[in-house]
Every structure is written in structure tokens, then in C-alpha cells.
């Protein structure tokens, strides 16, 4: 089997292409890997992430599934139980709710309830996130449901480098991993990167995107870019802001968060999911516990309002976090 890394050195790749390469390279490396999802074969995926896979690897390993998310998740579990590595695409992460029971009760618990007899190498991935006019059912960030379901690793990359490196790690991890791919980043030109030929990014490690001394902004996904913009605004006001990109929600890199707060003593956590029981709230709670003696001000969070994501631009902007809302929260914490 030939694995040709076609990308020419020096060529920049967008977020989507990085993911596409990861899947193709892992399919070539691992003859026991199977891809399954709605419209991933003939069509090549709703966003084109799986284009070319069917032609290269054939129908047996690239399965166009019926519109049956529970079946897809359950069959992924069965295939993994019987020796396969499965990449399972959700057409939109919103649709994962249709397969919820199979994911949280059958797949996620398998290692636990069999005392480790069965480990399931499954990666579930799909386009997620708001800001694109997708409205209620094509905008969700429902990661909190799954972070609250023991047995799943949950990732949310924000750069092409991480998207590819984390996906490759996930496909070799041996546990069910759920990856939120921010679809607004798929073809975003100004985040394109040159990628090395062969690399992975470790699961469970956050990364510092900007160094600072006065305040820490903790985020993931596209809100990382709001935080970077907010840091620019605050820099002009004389505040030095550090930005941490979690990349991995479960497991959570508390060491990285603690190291940053040890410097800054102040923190704001940002995510685009709704506030109540959202992951930002969990991070704030963990900071309150693990960084108890390091804090100079109460930690705050910036989240979506407790609403679905509405369609009209005015409404969508109103409910979602943005740079201005992050700046406002940061000022409050800085001035405490």
C-alpha cells in the first residue's frame, strides 16, 4: 500500500485539508480502519472532508450510511469491538443527538463496564459551531453533554496544525474520541499553515497562543480568535494578556491553566456554548478548586446566552460571545 504525502513542502493547508489529509494518511497506514457516515462516499461528505476516500479505499472501508445516527454509532462500536478502527462522521455535530444513547450508554461505557476487556478505537468528528448563520440545528456546540459522559475524550482544535495532529492521535488512541471541528474555520484563509510531513499532537495538552502577565483568557475553537483580538485591544490599554487554547476538553490540561494563573492571578473563560452547565463553567469551577490560592480576582466566564442559536444576524450576534464581550469581562476582572 502506497502512502504518498502529496502536499508539497511550503504549501499552506487550510483547516479542512488538514483534516482530510489526516484521515487519508491514517486509512493508508491502518488497513483495519473504516470510515462511516452519511454521504461520505459518493458525495465525499457534505463539506468535502472525505472526498477521494471511496475511490482510493473502496466501498467496504468507506461506508455511505443511511440517515441513522444511532445505527452508525452502534455499528462503529460493533466494528471496534471486532478489531476495527472507525472514523465516524457526523454530517453536522447537531445531529449527534440522534445517536446519543448509543454513544453515551453503549460506546462510552464499554471500557468501564468490561473492566478494560474492550477498548474501542473510534473517532467521531463533525462540523460544529455558530457564527455562520446556521441557526438552531447547524450551529450547536453540545460538547458539555459528552464531557459529562465518562469514557469519551473530547477535543476542539482551532488551527490546521492541531486539527490534523489531534485527529491522527485520536485515531491511534484506542478510546472513543469526539472531535468538534469548527466549520467556520474549514476554509478560513488567514489561519492556513504549512504542515510538517509526519507529526501528531498529543491529546490532553493545552497550548499558549499568546503570552502575557496580567490576565489569562482560556478558550477553545473559534473563540480563541476572539480572545486573541481581545488581547490586542487590552494591550493598547496597557494590559498584558495570556491566551490559552485548551484543544482538549477531556482530558483537561489543568497544569497549563494553573501555570498561567500562577503568573497572572486573573482569568476569564470563554466558550460559545450556552452558559448553564456549559464547559466554561466547569473550567471556572476547576480553577476555583485547583488555583484557589493563586487567584487575585474571582474568575469569570463569557458564553452564549442560555438560548439556542438564532438565524438572523442581529439575533445571532446578540446571543453569542464576541471580542467586545470578552474585552468587557476582562476589564472587570483586571479592575477588581
Amino acid at each position: 500500500m502506497s502512502i504518498v504525502l502529496e502536499h508539497k513542502t511550503g504549501t499552506k493547508r487550510n483547516f479542512l485539508t488538514a483534516i482530510k489529509e489526516a484521515i487519508r494518511e491514517e486509512m493508508a497506514l491502518n488497513p483495519d480502519m473504516v470510515c462511516m457516515g452519511e454521504d461520505i462516499g459518493l458525495l465525499g461528505g457534505a463539506f468535502g472532508v472525505t472526498e477521494g476516500l471511496l475511490a482510493e479505499f473502496g466501498r467496504a472501508r468507506v461506508i455511505d450510511a443511511p440517515i441513522s445516527e444511532a445505527l452508525i454509532a452502534g455499528a462503529a462500536t460493533g466494528m471496534a469491538l471486532n478489531g476495527k478502527t472507525v472514523m465516524m462522521e457526523l454530517q453536522f455535530i447537531d445531529f449527534i443527538s440522534c445517536g446519543f444513547d448509543q454513544i453515551v450508554n453503549t460506546m462510552a461505557t464499554f471500557s468501564y463496564r468490561t473492566a478494560g476487556e474492550v477498548n474501542l478505537p473510534i473517532v467521531m468528528r463533525g462540523p460544529a459551531g455558530a457564527y455562520g448563520g446556521g441557526a438552531l440545528y447547524h450551529s450547536q456546540m453540545n460538547e458539555a453533554w459528552f464531557c459529562n459522559s465518562p469514557g469519551l475524550k473530547v477535543l476542539c482544535p482551532s488551527t490546521p496544525y492541531d486539527a490534523k495532529g489531534l485527529l491522527r492521535s485520536a485515531l491511534r488512541d484506542g478510546n472513543p474520541v469526539l472531535i468538534y471541528e469548527i466549520k467556520e474555520l474549514y476554509r478560513k484563509r488567514d489561519i492556513e499553515q504549512e504542515l510538517p510531513d509526519d507529526y501528531t499532537v498529543p491529546i490532553g495538552k493545552a497550548v499558549v497562543r499568546r503570552e502575557g502577565a496580567d490576565l489569562t483568557l482560556v478558550s477553545y475553537g473559534q473563540n480563541v480568535y476572539h480572545c486573541l483580538e481581545a488581547a490586542e485591544v487590552l494591550a493598547k490599554e496597557g494590559s498584558s494578556v495570556e491566551v490559552i487554547d485548551l484543544r482538549s476538553l477531556v482530558p483537561l490540561d489543568m497544569d497549563a491553566i494553573r501555570a498561567s494563573i500562577a503568573k497572572t492571578g486573573r482569568v476569564v473563560v470563554v466558550n460559545e456554548a450556552p452558559m448553564t452547565c456549559g464547559f466554561a463553567g466547569e473550567v471556572v469551577a476547576r480553577i476555583s478548586t485547583d488555583c484557589f490560592e493563586l487567584l487575585d480576582a474571582p474568575p469569570l466566564r463569557v458564553t452564549r446566552l442560555d438560548t439556542p442559536v438564532p438565524w438572523a444576524k442581529t439575533l445571532e450576534t446578540y446571543v453569542l460571545p464576541n471580542t467586545e464581550k470578552v474585552v468587557a469581562a476582562a476589564r472587570k476582572v483586571l479592575e477588581f
Binding site: A70, L71, G74, M79, L81, N82, D101, N105, G116, D173
Partner: protein, 378 residues
């Protein structure tokens, strides 16, 4: 208000007896038939014994009796190959130790669980296949090819589809049997899975134990047809109906489905008509006596699978009338039978399992936080 009823006649009408000619049972020897009877006794005795242990307060959780449904478990498993997969659910506990039992109950090579493993699970011991992490029937084994079930009914059918799909990719020729009550056929995932299995002609056989009651809900309120097998038409696959009280009829129908699956022709539904002897679980026995009409229960329990099979053996000169009288637990409730009503080797086999389980260690407390994620080989 009485619930709508499809009627007892409807329940029986679709059981198609085709006589003895050219049926899979023709390949069974008299010794095989004696083993079938022994397995029926064993399944019944396991149930009886656990009911007694439960009543004495020695067991945790809920016991879902398989009483009166043993012919489905025994008859469906008997013709399988060791490499085949099964997925029993709550009312199928005997299936764990009856899988591949034809190769010897104590044969360590067989692809089924030992009685020690199953009793360890019932007694919540560390020697259980799942180290007593989930309860009762929620055990399985990758190597012995038993899919681990959950409490979500019909939930193992999609997993069975994946197992079957992977087996085909692996170059295998296994079939996968899932066990389900008629109540679970109302689940969406039942449809999603059988639809997919049929599209890909997967060797997945869905056994439906239609015992007429889904907890407190009669089949009339869960299915528009008294025959769950009718649903097969929508998937363009065979829907067979077996007399769930007749171990040979179950064997014949399941083996027909197995032959079809192994030939690459795809899945089948095999509905086995039966009747739930007691409540949904042991906690429900008293209430079940109130929500189920007494005459329906009497009628439903009137064809004990042990009696039905003994009658066949006598009629076919494979057992004398005297022999048939020797061990007669049929028609009796757990409280009405003693060990003397069962063959001694059956009593002895379970005794070994129970004694092993009682002296086995409990799982250490700190295991409670382990294995949320993979930890490498156990």
C-alpha cells in the same frame, strides 16, 4: 377498562408447523436430543435456584426470570458454531453458559462462559467477566464472542451489525444472534439496525421473544400486529415465527435463518411465541398478578417447554414414558420444586458454580475509578 387484545387465537395462528420432514432437526441424533433436554433442565434449574437465593436475600439487584422461555435460548444456541456471536439480554441469563455448551459444559475450550463466571457475576464478585461493574446480564466476552448488553433495549442490534460487518472484512463467516423482547421492537434503533443489516446483507439474526408483556404493557399496546415477524416485510427479509415452547421448532427456524445468513443472503427476524411466567422482574411478581388476567397466565404457562419436548421424545421413541416421569419440574413454580425434580448432574453443575462464587473475592473498592479509559491489557 380492559386493554385491546389481538386474542389468543391470533397468537397461535401464525405458528406454522411444517412437520418433521426435511427440517434441520433431522440432523440431530438421539444423543443430541438428550442433550437438548438436559440443557432445558439446566436453564430451568438455574432460574429456580436463583429465585430461591433471591428470596432469601442473598442477591443484589433484580432477577428477570427466563422460566417458560428456556426453549428459545436452548433451541437457538444449539446449532451455532463456536465462532458465532450472540447478544443475550436480561431474560436470557442461561445463554451465557449454554453458548457452545454442546462441546461439553465443563470444556474450557468452548466459546461460552463457565458456570463459575456466570455465578460470579450474579454474586457480584471480582471473578465475574466484567468484575461486577454492571449488573446481571450485562456481561460479555470479546474472545467468547458474546456482545455485552446494556439496559437500553434493542441497543445491541446496531452493535451486532458492526460486529458482523467487521467479521466480513476480517474474512470470517460468523453469524450474530441478538435476543430481544417484543417490547424492544418499538425502539427506533431496532428499525435503523435491521434496515442497515438488510441493505448490506449482514448475517444478523434478530430473535424476538414475544412473551406478550413488555413489563406492564401488553403486546397489543406496543405493536399493531400480533406478529412481530410481519415487520420483516418492510426490510425485504424473512420473518419466521417459531413456537417458543417447542425447542425443536425454535432450532429449525433459527437454523433456517442461520443457513441463509451464512450463505450471504442476509438477516432474518425469528419471532418466538412464548409467555412470561412471572412478573417483569422479581420485584414485579405481586403486581403482575394484578395487571395480568389469571386465565391468560394459566393459558400462557400451560405448555411448559420441558413437557412439550418430553412428549416429542416419547412419541419418537427416544424416551420411555417412565423415564419421562423421572424428573418433572414442568408446570411447577420455583417455590414448588426441589432439587429432586432435576437430574443430579444439573444440580451438581450449578452447585459448583455457586460454591465458587460464594468464596470468590469481591472487587476492591478502588477499582471503582478504573477503566474509564483504556489502561492496556487487563
Amino acid at each position: 377498562m380492559t386493554p385491546p387484545s389481538h386474542g389468543a387465537a391470533a397468537v397461535q395462528k401464525r405458528i406454522e408447523k411444517t412437520g418433521d420432514q426435511a427440517l434441520p432437526r433431522q440432523a440431530l441424533t438421539p444423543a443430541d436430543n438428550q442433550e437438548l433436554l438436559r440443557q432445558l433442565y439446566l436453564a430451568r434449574y438455574f432460574d429456580v435456584r436463583l429465585i430461591k437465593e433471591k428470596k432469601r436475600g442473598r442477591l443484589r439487584g433484580t432477577l428477570y426470570s427466563s422460566h417458560n422461555q428456556e426453549a428459545i435460548i436452548v433451541g437457538s444456541l444449539f446449532g451455532l458454531e463456536p465462532t458465532d456471536w450472540i447478544s443475550p439480554i436480561h431474560r436470557d441469563m442461561p445463554a451465557f453458559f449454554l453458548k457452545d455448551a454442546r462441546r461439553g459444559w465443563r470444556n474450557p475450550e468452548r466459546n461460552g462462559m463457565s458456570i463459575e463466571e456466570v455465578c460470579s457475576q450474579v454474586w457480584c464478585k471480582a471473578t465475574s467477566p466484567g468484575r461486577a461493574r454492571d449488573n446481571w446480564s450485562h456481561i460479555g466476552s470479546k474472545t467468547k464472542r458474546i456482545i455485552h448488553s446494556t439496559s437500553m433495549l434493542a441497543g445491541t442490534i446496531p452493535v451486532a451489525c458492526g460486529v458482523a460487518y467487521a467479521d466480513r472484512l476480517n474474512g470470517g463467516n460468523a453469524v450474530v444472534l441478538t435476543y430481544n423482547g417484543e417490547g424492544s421492537t418499538a425502539q427506533g434503533v431496532f428499525h435503523e439496525s435491521i434496515n442497515f443489516a438488510s441493505v448490506h446483507k449482514l448475517p444478523v439474526i434478530t430473535i424476538v421473544e414475544n412473551n406478550q408483556w413488555a413489563y406492564g404493557t401488553p403486546v397489543e399496546l406496543g405493536s399493531p400486529s400480533p406478529d412481530i415477524a410481519d415487520r420483516a416485510k418492510g426490510y425485504n427479509i424473512p420473518g419466521l415465527i417459531a413456537d417458543g415452547q417447542d425447542v425443536l421448532d425454535v432450532y429449525d427456524k433459527v437454523m433456517a435463518a442461520v443457513a441463509r445468513a451464512r450463505a450471504g443472503l442476509g438477516p432474518s427476524i425469528v419471532e418466538c411465541k412464548t409467555f412470561r411466567a412471572y412478573g417483569h422482574g422479581d420485584h414485579d411478581d405481586d403486581r403482575a398478578a394484578k395487571y395480568r388476567p389469571e386465565e391468560e397466565v394459566e393459558r400462557g404457562r400451560s405448555r411448559d417447554p420441558i413437557a412439550v419436548f418430553k412428549r416429542w421424545l416419547v412419541e419418537h421413541n427416544q424416551m420411555s414414558a417412565d423415564e419421562a416421569q423421572r424428573f418433572s419440574p414442568e408446570g411447577l413454580s420455583a417455590s414448588e420444586v426441589t432439587d429432586d425434580d432435576f437430574p443430579p448432574e444439573v444440580v451438581q453443575y450449578l452447585k459448583e458454580g455457586i460454591e465458587f462464587a460464594i468464596q470468590a473475592p469481591v472487587p476492591p473498592a478502588e477499582e471503582g475509578s478504573r477503566w474509564v479509559f483504556a489502561e492496556g491489557p487487563r
